[in-house]
Amino acid sequence: MKKTIKLRDLDCANCAAKIENAIARLDGVTDVKVNFMSQKMILDAPDDRFDAVLAEAKKIAKKIEPDLVILA
């Protein structure tokens, strides 16, 4: 399943790249793209594990950029 997640307060392009790399290394992530310009994250993961993978991804993102607001 591929889902587009809106982000807010992603101010640092470096952080966007770091977050993308970190999430890509997660187990279960087929593909991830973090777009600093459009403030969106596109996460691709198998349907049955999607929610779990998304939760992990959010945790990592918050760790790298604690000010990041993840909408949904």
């Binding site: 307060d9 470096n14 777009n35 596109i42 760790k63």
Partner: protein
């Protein structure tokens, strides 16, 4: 301005308001205004708490973030550097300096955040083709709903001045549409009953009742928006380079800073303090923010600027590649020419001209090729398909059909040769469809294709832009191809190409590329798929709503105008110029400040300027990519 930005701005303004008197107070010995008053030593003790308060107002979040990030394992970030630098200044007794640097830094940060938001918003505004509502006919009444709730087959009404929310077919009404948001074209497009309209256009004059043909997610507007937004996901080489560079740059400068703080004092016996201060400045300059933000922003701006002109670029990498294009290969029909073949001349033997056209129209009944369409148009009447008993298509040659029991052949010279039918040689000037009935030559129909009005200028512009070779590939007859090539001043033209020939010729042309040169193919969609895929850059004439073209190509020209190729190349070159300017500028300034710092010629101010100031300038410069001159 967002709430966050507003709050930030307030903190900055308050801090400045407090800092100015504080600074004057700090230098009260040198200011005659204060002579006499405030000279007692007790006032001196107030300085520290006063500046600490200002520092707290302006810098608390930086300190907090650096502590929090360290606890999460992230030590060396901007917050840490600024905290260390300014707290260090305080420890050295330079209170005003510490506050000033933090204040300066926050001002820069604010500008950076503001300009990025501004850029995002202006690009979003450019792409403000998203319709907010649709007027749907439900149970006889008109209801205003979210476009996403409208189903295929629903009837919607678009009043004058409103934006068409979904793709569909006009059921009732006639009007003129403003397509400029999608195509950059200022000339309105007339539509009436039975015509297709696409979402995103503004209805100008008349009321339109439209039957929806695609749901919102599949509509042209939604697709375009998605394409442009996601275009920046396809990173250009420059962006990839900067990301890799940044990863090595920061640790390198940090190590250099540590070395700077420790080695010279030990080796030269100088006090640590001076060198630690210099090391701190080093750290401040080490952030690669300017590059990491401004480069993607430049490409984002370039893509936005291209969309404004009616060209969809599907990736930052394609925008970058355009600048290195050496060879441009064109398809003829529909790309350089309008593809609206018109019957020019009919010459029949042993039958009336009308009969010849009739036979041709019947033979070409199943074909959607522009040639067939024009013949049917010339015929004008409806084809009675009961008279056709068999149609066989011979690829690259023509068609064989049994009409009224007679075997009719309609096709090009190759077909006549294949079937050994002697035919007359025609003077060049158009595409010729030869006809033979029952093995006997019956005559020919001459069809001419109109060259698009902007094609000649398009080729000239490309040559002026430095394209080394302009080539045309076409399945059309030699005479026609030659004529068009001459009229357009093309370097080379390959005619009578079968689809497989086109791919082969493409390969040959690909081998003619120089080291860094690239080849772009311009076609009009489906039938050019293999060639579009093989080329370095595939450019399709989008035509309003041509799904296949939008899918297959890397770059889509929404208006079908070849002249837009040169336009988007200009945008590409401009974007790359800006990117290069930013890289050179940022590295040069940072490098200079680093060198000056090593020799003690730079202060914390220059450190912050080299980081934040450079960032802001780079961002502002990046925004220039949006302007299409």
């Amino acid at each position: 301005m967002s709430k966050k930005e507003k709050k930030h701005l307030w903190r900055i303004l308050i801090s400045i308001a407090l800092f100015v008197p504080g600074f004057m107070f700090h230098n009260r010995e040198n200011i005659s205004l204060f002579s006499g008053t405030f000279q007692a030593p007790v006032w001196g003790y107030l300085e520290l708490p006063f500046f600490v308060i200002i520092y707290a107002i302006i810098g608390w979040d930086i300190l907090w973030r650096s502590i929090r990030n360290i606890s999460k394992g992230q030590v060396f970030d901007e917050n840490f550097l600024m905290s260390v630098a300014t707290v260090g200044a305080f420890c050295l007794g330079e209170y005003a300096e510490g506050v000033a640097v933090m204040l300066f830094y926050q001002v820069g940060e604010w500008f950076q955040s503001y300009s990025v938001s501004r850029s995002r918003r202006s690009i979003a505004d450019l792409m403000d083709i998203r319709p907010d509502y649709a007027n749907v006919m439900r149970n006889g009444t008109l209801v205003q709903v979210d476009p996403e709730e409208v189903l295929v087959g629903d009837i919607i009404v678009v009043k004058p001045g409103e934006r068409i929310p979904l793709d569909g077919v006009v059921e009732e009404g006639r009007s003129a549409l403003d397509t400029s948001a999608l195509t950059g074209e200022s000339v309105p497009r007339d539509v009436s009953v039975g015509e297709n309209v696409i979402s995103g256009c503004i209805n100008q004059t008349g009321l339109l009742t439209i039957k929806v043909s695609k749901e919102f997610g599949q509509s042209t507007v939604a697709k375009i928006l998605e394409l442009v937004e996601n275009a920046s996901d396809k990173k250009s080489k420059s962006e990839n380079f900067i990301t890799r560079f940044a990863r090595y740059y920061t640790p390198t400068v940090v190590f250099a800073a540590v070395a700077l703080a420790i080695l010279p004092p030990i080796v030269m016996g100088q006090p640590f303090v001076i060198w630690v201060e210099r090391a701190l400045i080093f750290l401040v300059v080490s952030c690669p923010c300017a590059l990491v933000i401004s480069i993607p922003l430049s490409f984002f701006g370039g893509i936005g600027g291209a969309s404004k002109s009616g060209v969809l670029v599907k990736g930052s990498n394609y925008l970058e590649m355009l600048a290195n294009t050496e060879i441009v290969v064109f398809d003829k029909t529909g790309t350089l020419t309008k593809g609206n073949f018109v019957v020019n001349e009919v010459r029949a033997q042993n039958m009336s001209e009308k009969k010849l056209v009739e036979l041709a129209a019947y033979a070409e009944d199943y074909s959607n090729h522009p040639i067939a369409v024009s013949i049917r148009k010339a015929y004008g009447k409806k084809v009675d398909t009961s008279r056709i008993s068999e149609i066989e298509e011979i690829a690259g040659h023509g068609v064989k059909a049994i009409i009224d029991g007679n075997e009719v052949l309609a096709g090009n010279e190759r077909l006549m040769k294949l079937k050994n039918i002697p035919h007359e040689n025609t003077a060049p000037g158009g595409t010729v469809v030869y006809l033979a009935v029952n093995g006997q030559y019956a005559g020919y129909i001459l069809i001419a294709d109109e060259i698009k009005p902007d094609s000649p200028q398009a080729i000239l512009d490309l040559k002026a832009a430095g394209i080394k070779q302009t080539v045309m590939l076409t399945g059309d007859a030699y005479a026609v191809g030659k004529k068009v090539a001459a009229q357009l001043n093309l370097d080379k033209a390959y005619t009578e190409m079968l689809p497989a020939d086109k791919v082969e010729q493409m390969e040959k042309l690909m081998n003619q590329r120089s080291d860094k040169g690239l080849l772009a193919f311009v076609g009009d969609g489906i039938n050019d798929a293999p060639v579009l895929a093989r080329a370095d850059i595939g450019i399709a004439m989008g035509g309003l709503g041509s799904d296949a073209a939008i899918e297959a190509a890397d770059i889509v020209i929404m208006t079908d105008e070849p002249s837009k190729i040169a336009t988007v190349m200009k945008i590409s070159k401009k974007t790359l110029r800006i990117v290069r300017q930013n890289i050179v500028f940022s590295l040069a300034v940072k490098g200079a400040v680093l060198v000056l710092t090593t020799f003690g010629l730079a202060t914390m101010w220059s450190g912050v300027l080299a980081d934040v100031g450079v960032s802001v300038i780079a961002i502002l410069n990046a925004m220039r990519a949006l302007n299409v001159s």
